[in-house]
């Protein structure tokens, strides 16, 4: 089963005016508005955190910490700028900090058959197996490279926005995306050839 080839549909893209109004309501202490904001950005925050941490529970904890931290720091947010990159910078930092703090890296052992491209699983578990391989391949990349490719190809952020999120030059983002893609595409090509 091949993944659907659709352009990235970044859930985090919210019309600027709507977003600014929402953030203003949150600043004024509107809990419901924060709920709406969290609802909209939870997906991207969790995915980015998972790209860094691997473990879904760790990633959720990091995403939660980041969203709470964003709420506390909301006065520092410049409403003339898009909210997504500002929030994702906090998410990226929270996930990276958590990753540093984690003494023992918990990586679930992968089925050797999947790593070596052995016998293919049946159709019902095929997608899951591909996802597993992708997560393993992601884990082999540096965390910055992972975030760069996920923010670019999954979430649809521009190189400039990713540079702002990760606090690195735009040229470095391009390079990171390029190298990450090259590695992941090899993996996906192998997978496709086995079909």
């Amino acid at each position: 089963m091949k993944p659907e080839s659709q352009p990235p549909q970044p859930a985090a893209r919210i019309p600027g005016q709507d977003e600014a109004a929402l953030v203003a309501r949150v600043r004024a202490g509107d809990r419901t508005a924060f709920g709406v904001l969290a609802e909209r950005y939870a997906g991207v925050a969790r995915r980015v955190a998972r790209a860094v941490l691997g473990d879904p529970d760790d990633a959720d904890d990091a995403a939660q910490d980041a969203l709470l931290s964003a709420l506390v720091k909301l006065d520092q947010y410049d409403p003339r700028r898009p909210f997504g990159p500002w929030l994702l910078r906090i998410v990226a930092n929270a996930a990276t900090d958590r990753r540093r703090r984690r003494k023992v890296r918990r990586v679930e052992p992968l089925d050797p058959a999947l790593v070596a491209g052995g016998a293919r699983p049946d159709a019902t578990t095929e997608q899951r197996a591909l996802s597993e391989r992708l997560r393993t391949a992601l884990a082999e990349l540096s965390h910055r490279r992972r975030m760069a490719v996920v923010l670019f190809d999954v979430e649809g952020y521009s190189h400039a926005e990713i540079a702002a999120i990760l606090g690195i030059p735009e040229g470095t983002v391009r390079s990171e995306v390029f190298h990450a893609r090259r590695r992941l595409r090899v993996l996906l090509a192998d997978w496709k050839e086995q079909e």
Partner: protein, 111 residues
């Protein structure tokens, strides 16, 4: 998806993006629980007042630091203005000195 990308390809790769999204997507149905847990944490922060406490603590630390700084600065300024002006080297050399009694006596006895 298998084409070799240009070094600075500015277009997102939809196939790779979709595969990665699927790989990173949290468990189905966990989204609502995630947001609910987050809002509960917000309520906890507000309910216990810990948020206010954190801010108040920082405010207290700031005030204490300002007080210490002001006291130190006041002490230094006061000390600088209250201390007698030190004579210059020239003043020290030409200043008339009152002879000490022992020196006068020693001088007389010696003669």
């Amino acid at each position: 998806m298998t084409r070799e990308p240009l070094p600075f390809d500015h277009r997102p790769d939809p196939a790779l993006g979709a595969a990665l999204r699927q790989a990173l997507e949290p468990a189905e149905g966990s989204h609502t629980a995630f947001v609910a847990r987050l809002l509960a944490r917000v309520d906890d922060l507000r309910g216990t007042g810990s948020w206010d406490r954190v801010l108040a603590r920082w405010a207290r630390v700031g005030v204490a630091a300002a007080v210490v700084f002001s006291l130190a600065a006041g002490y230094l300024v006061g000390r600088a203005t209250a201390a007698p002006a030190r004579p210059s080297v020239a003043e020290a050399l030409i200043a008339p000195r009152t002879p000490v009694v022992e020196v006068v006596l020693a001088s007389v006895l010696g003669n």
